[in-house]
């Protein structure tokens, strides 16, 4: 049974968890070479996007197969702001959050009328249609080519403090603080009054509305929060080098959903675990296929096969994901 905790206790706990995550990734990066440091930067970036799904699907029960499209909105907003208006990257990231939140507002207003499969299908169509806007209006969005953008160089005070910083380390230092902040925000949101409201809507809409909750408004608010996170993730993701339609394919949306489900849709620790799996599993499989000298056709498609199978096995064995399985084991030990 979850008890209602005071705001102060929760704030303290989520601060602690966010800091632990921050330090853990930082310590891990010191053990790693440049390639894996870059992968850790990817984890930090994608974690923000996975959290946006945990928030949307896990906490409020709405499903989106189009988070990649919202990431594209964030990425394009930031890239356009930086290349056209020449503002700083950090300001562009913050503005990208607001622009995608606004986009989420419109999306939420449409989506609040939809449920279950209708919402899934509509967001899937959106995931295909939004990147095609960039090609349709290619004079403004520069079509297939997209925008070449990057994180730039680390500021002088940081190089003075830490010495030489490689590109991989710098990309991690850009992404990681945002990831820790998002983690903090999501932990806070889901443990306070609004989080409880969302869960009530998720579990039983009729009961929630009888308790005085405005269902439609709640759903729209969740969409706004989730889109803000996805947009931020999209901006950081694009600034690794390129903002273009090919960077935000439909497969990205599905991969993010997979991460959220494997870890456990209702658990924030699960989101972290799932993100690690989708980023590092392809690497592990590549090592194994190289070791076994499997033919190329197998090694290309094996990661996708394993991720698909993991998703299926998770859903069939325990829809609550690895976090749910862990809880289950803990319960059994107690009794």
């Amino acid at each position: 049974m979850s008890k209602v905790k005071s705001h102060k206790v929760i704030g303290f706990r989520s601060t602690r968890l966010a800091i632990i995550f921050f330090l853990f990734i930082l310590l891990l990066s010191m053990q790693f070479g440049p390639y894996n440091q870059f992968q850790l930067a990817n984890i930090s970036t994608l974690l923000i996007a996975v959290l946006s799904i945990t928030l949307l699907t896990g906490a409020s029960g709405q499903i989106s197969l189009g988070q990649g499209a919202i990431m594209a909105v964030g990425g394009y907003s930031a890239a356009l702001l930086v290349t056209r208006l020449e503002i700083s990257m950090w300001l562009a990231f913050v503005l990208a959050i607001f622009i995608s939140a606004l986009f989420g507002l419109f999306l939420g207003l449409a989506a609040a009328r939809l449920s279950g499969p209708y919402l899934a299908g509509t967001t899937l169509v959106m995931a295909l249609a939004i990147p095609s806007i960039a090609i349709r209006f290619d004079s403004f969005f520069s079509g297939d080519i997209g925008f070449s953008v990057d994180y730039g160089y680390p500021p002088d005070w940081l190089t003075n403090l830490l010495g030489e910083i490689s590109i991989e380390e710098w990309s991690l230092y850009v992404a990681l603080p945002f990831a820790a902040l998002s983690l903090f925000a999501v932990l806070n949101l889901s443990n306070t009054r609004s989080g409880r409201t969302w869960r009530a809507v998720r579990d039983n809409e009729v009961a929630a509305s009888l308790a005085g909750i405005n269902i439609a408004r709640t759903k729209v608010i969740v969409f706004v929060c989730s889109s803000a996170l996805a947009g931020l993730a999209g901006a950081i993701y694009g600034f690794r080098g390129l903002v273009a339609p090919s960077v935000y394919p439909t497969d990205l949306s599905l991969l993010l959903l997979t991460a959220a489900v494997i870890g456990g849709l209702r658990s924030i620790g699960g989101a972290i675990f799932g993100t690690f799996v989708i980023v590092f599993l392809p690497d592990v499989i590549e090592k194994i296929t190289k070791f076994l000298e499997l033919p190329e056709t197998i090694s290309i498609y094996l990661p996708a096969l394993m991720i698909g199978l993991l998703l299926l096995i998770t859903v069939i064995l325990n829809p609550r994901g690895s976090a749910g399985a862990l809880e289950h084991i803990r319960h059994r030990h107690k009794h």
Partner: protein, 303 residues
């Protein structure tokens, strides 16, 4: 005038294929309460099987029939192996919540889609390949004038028409069809009157698998075959099903033809890159103006 006819004929033959896809989606939605996002993945897989058989010098028609049968088997397998175990676990904690009960099967179907695509890549190397048509795909001529329709278009329209007639006869004239309609309407009462609701569900998955397998065989001579080619077909089929009303079989066929004309006219009078946007706008309009669909019944959809 000529471009109008081109769009009209292209719309009719494409619309016939969309109608099949949309029919498959609606069958499973009515029969099992699941929107099957893996449907065109299944179709892609069976079309690869047919392509492999034709490469091994089987005749087109034997490959055609084997593909349809494997479509039915794959559909039944998806239900028995994955969807039925899922629905029998309804009292697990996550499935206690209302919204999750409809969400989890959607996620499962996406997993199936991913697995089928990866398997097709492993078995058939994933590169695009052509798929033969049983009749010439060149334009027909009447005397000295070129008609804007090919022999293959006529073949597609004919096959789909035949399928729709057979489906209608099955649902209105046979006991099994009646049982399927009954269990879609009220599974509890149907079970009490002695019909095996589980088998009926599996049957609707199998019929849907056959219909989408047929759609795959009919569309790939034009689009070529690769693990991803049929994705667009799913999107269009879903939109068609929503436009027609997810619960109505006749509506789904109507929706398929409407989408066929919309896409063909956008292609001819506008540009092909506008097609995705047109589909999205059309879907949103349909959801706002008539969320229950053209022929759907109103009370089925909770708001």
């Amino acid at each position: 005038m000529n471009s109008f006819l081109t769009a009209f004929f292209a719309g009719t033959s494409q619309g016939a294929i969309y109608a099949l896809v949309s029919l498959g989606l609606v069958l499973v939605w009515r029969g099992a309460g699941v929107v099957n996002f893996a449907q065109m993945g299944q179709a892609m897989f069976t079309t690869y099987i047919a392509s492999q058989l034709i490469q091994n010098e089987y005749s087109y028609w034997s490959a055609f029939v084997i593909a349809l049968i494997s479509g039915a088997l794959l559909g039944a397998l998806v239900d028995l192996g994955i969807m039925r175990p899922l629905s029998s676990r309804k009292n697990s904690l996550l499935l206690n919540s209302q919204s999750m009960r409809t969400t989890i099967p959607v996620i499962a179907s996406l997993g199936i889609l991913g697995v089928l695509k990866a398997l097709a890549g492993i078995f058939w190397a994933g590169e695009e390949r052509g798929f033969p048509a049983p009749v010439p795909t060149t334009g027909l001529r009447l005397g000295n004038t070129d008609l804007a329709i090919t022999g293959f278009d006529l073949f597609v329209i004919g096959v789909v028409f035949l399928t729709l007639v057979l489906t209608t006869i099955f649902f209105t004239r046979t006991g099994m069809g009646l049982a399927m309609r009954a269990s879609a309407l009220n599974p509890e009462v149907t079970r009490l009157s002695g019909i095996r609701v589980g088998s009926v569900r599996t049957l609707s998955w199998a019929i849907s698998g056959t219909a989408s397998s047929l759609a795959g065989l009919l569309v790939t001579p034009k689009t070529n075959l690769s693990p991803n080619t049929l994705d667009l077909l799913l999107i269009v089929g879903f939109t068609a099903a929503v436009v027609g009303g997810l619960t109505s079989l006749a509506g789904s066929v109507l929706g398929g033809f409407i989408l066929g004309y919309v896409i063909a006219f956008v292609n001819v009078y506008s540009a092909p890159e506008n097609v995705f946007l047109a589909i999205l706008i059309f879907l949103l309009l349909a959801l706002f103006l008539r969320p229950q669909g053209i022929l759907g019944s109103k009370e089925v959809r909770r708001v």
